[in-house]
């Protein structure tokens, strides 16, 4: 493999693995604030216990998010130095702001949230939970501002030395792409957290243990789930999709597998893109739908890939097609299962409908897959550009770091992250097995310990 491919896989692997954790912790932080709020409002001790239980699982995931996140900030320079040199004047801004505004906030208040319950008043402890949540959402915002500038560069100008500078700070922060992507992404984080919470609730109810807490988790998880799953498709996904169609039409054509421009373009639900012969094998398609989704009328013409020069087509087109279809397909499934669960919850029958509980339990990996697939859609869709329309991916990597070196450290990360995965499984399984009733009373060694 050449150096460019290896640097791409290096970044892709480490960021994909990293994002398994923040997508849960951002969503879970919000649900923990919900639990703490219920505890304050109802004075029901069980909500405090429930919040404490989830804080333990949050702590493990947050730790793994932190330790896998540090390499991301380094890799812009280590593996993508030419990209950093040229664009640091723009994207350095949100990345530095993330450190200053989010990391200090999170790291300070996480300790107080996890270990300060006895020394803080109930309201102050709620405040600590809220600030941790706020910190993680601020962090997400600055990362998305960075990514959005790569997707849709705004508010910049080129300096004589070939580097880019921000021409308007607010222009950068108010990039419409960033806000559309941010609400879509944060909603997706809540989807992950609500599926995880519902799955643990279903597990306890099915096991007929900790049923009290199982019911609380089901209630909070399913309500948050149905709201976030619907918002995920409409309006956040719909708006984001239309904006992509406007600014990256070639990416939309590739995502949908539309090789030829068409009026009343069909939406392909399933199929295998054959790039050589420019067609979809075994297509399962619905006519007119794509035109309607993008333009609101079935007669509109959607630009196909044939409208664009070949060197602007996203590389690895089939992977983009699959990533998008997996995201969209799972998103549809999420609405269906959560709507069913919410209906049964409303009728008071969820606890006794075992097959739905089983579905909720077994569904918890799917939001992770959908989140990753969504990000792959965005980032592979951006190819062959590193900064859309300004800089190609092939221009950005560290020319002085050889392919062999990059492979060496990629293998190192694979090994290290295998260890992390094993630790994650053991610790989260332990916490769930112990259950909320056994008040965690662990000896403390660090800020984040305490599951």
């Amino acid at each position: 493999m050449d150096a460019l491919t290896l640097h791409r896989i290096h970044f892709a692997f480490t960021i994909t693995y990293h994002y398994l954790f923040p997508q849960l912790t951002m969503g879970l932080a919000l649900l923990i604030v919900v639990l703490k709020t219920m505890a304050l409002r109802t004075n029901d001790e069980r909500y405090d216990v429930a919040a404490r239980f989830w804080a333990g699982i949050f702590a493990v995931n947050f730790l793994l998010g932190v330790v896998t996140g540090i390499p991301m900030e380094f890799q812009f320079g280590t593996n993508w130095s030419e990209f950093s040199r040229r664009t640091g004047g723009v994207i350095g801004q949100p990345l530095a702001m993330e450190g200053v505004f989010s990391f200090f906030l999170e790291s300070s208040f996480l300790g107080l949230f996890l270990f300060g319950e006895k020394r803080l008043s109930r309201l102050a402890h709620w405040g600590a939970a809220f600030l941790v949540c706020l910190g993680s959402w601020i962090s997400g915002f600055f990362i998305i501002v960075t990514d959005a500038w790569m997707q849709h560069p705004v508010a910049y100008h080129l300096l004589p030395n070939g580097t880019y500078e921000v021409s308007s700070f607010w222009g950068l922060m108010m990039n419409p792409w960033a806000w559309l992507q941010y609400i879509h992404n944060q909603c997706a984080a809540v989807v992950t957290a609500s599926f995880v919470m519902s799955a643990v609730g279903a597990f306890y109810v099915l096991q007929k243990r900790s049923s009290d807490y199982g019911r609380i988790f089901l209630k909070v998880g399913v309500i948050a789930g149905i709201v976030s799953c619907m918002l995920q498709i409409f309006p956040t996904g719909d708006l984001h999709g239309k904006y992509v169609a406007k600014h990256q039409p070639v990416a939309i054509a590739a995502m949908e597998g539309l090789f030829h421009s068409e009026k009343g373009a069909p939406m392909v639900l399933m199929g295998q893109p054959d790039v050589e012969n420019q067609k979809i094998d075994n297509p399962l398609a619905v006519n007119d739908v794509l035109s309607f989704l993008i333009y609101g009328t079935t007669s509109a013409e959607v630009q196909g890939l044939d409208q664009f020069p070949r060197d602007q087509w996203p590389t690895t087109l089939p992977l983009l097609f699959y990533a998008y279809h997996i995201m969209a397909g799972l998103g549809t499934y999420f609405v269906a299962i959560m709507a069913l669960a919410a209906f049964l919850l409303w009728r008071g029958k969820l606890e006794t409908t075992r097959w739905v509980l089983w579905c909720l339990l077994l569904s918890f990996p799917f939001p992770y897959i959908a989140n990753i697939a969504g990000w792959m859609t965005a980032e592979i869709g951006r190819q062959p550009w590193l900064v859309y329309g300004l800089m190609r991916t092939s221009e950005g990597y560290s020319k002085h770091v050889g392919a062999g070196t990059s492979l060496f450290t990629l293998l190192g990360f694979l090994g290290m992250y295998s260890v992390l995965s094993i630790l994650w499984i053991v610790l989260v399984y332990n916490a769930i097995q112990k259950g909320p009733e056994e008040t965690p009373n662990h000896e403390h060694t660090g800020t984040l310990a305490g599951a």
Binding site: R52, L63, V67, I70, P71, E73, F76, G77, T78, S81, E82, S84, R85, G88, G89, V90, G92, Q93, L95, M97, E98, G99, V100, F101, F103, F104, L105, S107, S108, F109, L110, G111, L112, G116, E117, K118, R119, L159, N161, T163, V166, S167, F169, S398, K399, H400, T405, T409, G412, M416, T439, N441, E443, H444, T445, G446, T447, A449, G450, A451
Partner: protein
């Protein structure tokens, strides 16, 4: 504007060295001073609420460096590729050891993470010391402003050095001595009984070692980078930094001997800051000197980001740092005093 951002990054790095320095130091000496499981638990508790926040200074400084001096970030991070990757792996291992040790009640689990903690903390300190020495000595930056350094070449300084040579290894050892002392003094402040006494005994032995290390490093620096004194000759006011170092080096053993723990720790902080200021003053306005001739140096002039970014940055940076100061004061205040005074209420 450039000078301002130079010192902003320098101050953030100094904050990192002073703050994360003591928890790295606690890690490096833990196996030496804390013998029983209970004592080790206290060592972890002494840094538990603050280590993660301390480490954020490194990330925030790195982000600020990226933002203010994109060329320096791009060139240095890709040139120091291998050691940075090793640092990342060590940071991961260290974070895991601090946080996961308490999750399982098992002696084998504990001793495994204790060894990981000491090993990763010690190696990180050596790498950071060597990194600073690399910056002072210079690296073979080419005409395209990039370079790539092997971990080692012939262990000599010169036009084509490695990350590790006699000078940078000396830097690593000096860092290990200085931060071990820093960590022992901190741990002595936070603990009582046998653990406290052993920390203090270790600090007494480390004090003279740090003095010797500093004395050796001065001629070594002049040999490794002959023109490192040029700045001092031009701006005699900069001699303030080495003079402060000298004062601290005299004070430190006296304060340790007198048993004045708090002042000894604060003097150690001042010593670290003065050493860093001395190094920064010697470099300015060069950010990363080239061993292939000063025309390839990365300087403030060629690395600085555009003026608009920097002006806006000043606004949010000031706000952010005031907020960070408030958070840090809150946390350090809530967890003040000896570990035993808060450990019982410290937990669910």
């Amino acid at each position: 504007m450039g000078m301002l951002w130079f010192w902003i990054v320098a101050v953030m790095l100094a904050a990192y060295v002073v703050l994360d320095g003591f928890d790295l130091g606690v890690g490096a000496v833990m196996l030496l001073v804390a013998h029983t499981d209970e004592e080790r638990k206290q060592a972890y508790q002494s840094i538990g609420p603050v280590w993660d926040g301390n480490e954020v200074w490194l990330l925030a400084a790195g982000g600020t460096l990226f933002f203010a001096f994109p060329l320096l970030y791009a060139s240095a991070f890709s040139g120091f590729y291998m050691p940075l990757m090793i640092v990342l792996w060590l940071l991961i291992l260290r974070g895991l050891s601090v946080e996961l040790r308490g999750h399982v009640h098992d002696e084998m689990w504990h001793s495994f993470w204790d060894v990981v903690f000491t090993f990763s903390s010690g190696l990180l300190i050596i790498f950071f010391g060597a990194a600073l020495a690399n910056v002072i000595r210079g690296v073979p930056i080419g005409p395209d402003s990039y370079f790539y350094l092997s971990l080692w070449t012939n262990w000599r300084t010169g036009a084509n050095p490695g990350i590790l040579d006699w000078y940078t290894v000396l830097g690593g050892v000096l860092a290990l001595l200085a931060l071990s002392l820093h960590g022992s003094l901190y741990l002595a402040l936070k603990t009582e009984g046998d653990l406290h006494d052993r920390c203090y005994a270790l600090a007494k032995r480390l004090g003279p070692a740090v003095v010797i290390g500093c004395l050796v490093s001065i001629p070594a620096t002049v040999i490794a980078r002959p023109n490192s004194l040029a700045n001092y000759e031009k701006h005699p006011a900069e001699f303030l930094a080495p003079v402060t170092v000298a004062i601290c080096l005299v004070l430190l053993p006296i304060l340790i001997h007198k048993g004045d723990e708090l002042r000894a720790f604060l003097t150690s902080c001042a010593l670290l800051i003065a050493m860093l200021c001395g190094a920064a003053a010697g470099l300015y306005p060069v950010l990363l000197p080239s061993t292939l001739g000063s025309q390839s140096d990365i300087t403030m002039a060629n690395a600085l980001a555009g003026p608009h970014s920097l002006k806006v940055g000043l606004v949010w940076w000031s706000i952010g740092i005031v907020l960070a100061g408030i958070y840090f004061t809150t946390v350090y205040w809530l967890f003040r005093g000896k570990v035993s005074s808060y450990s019982d209420t410290y937990g669910h």
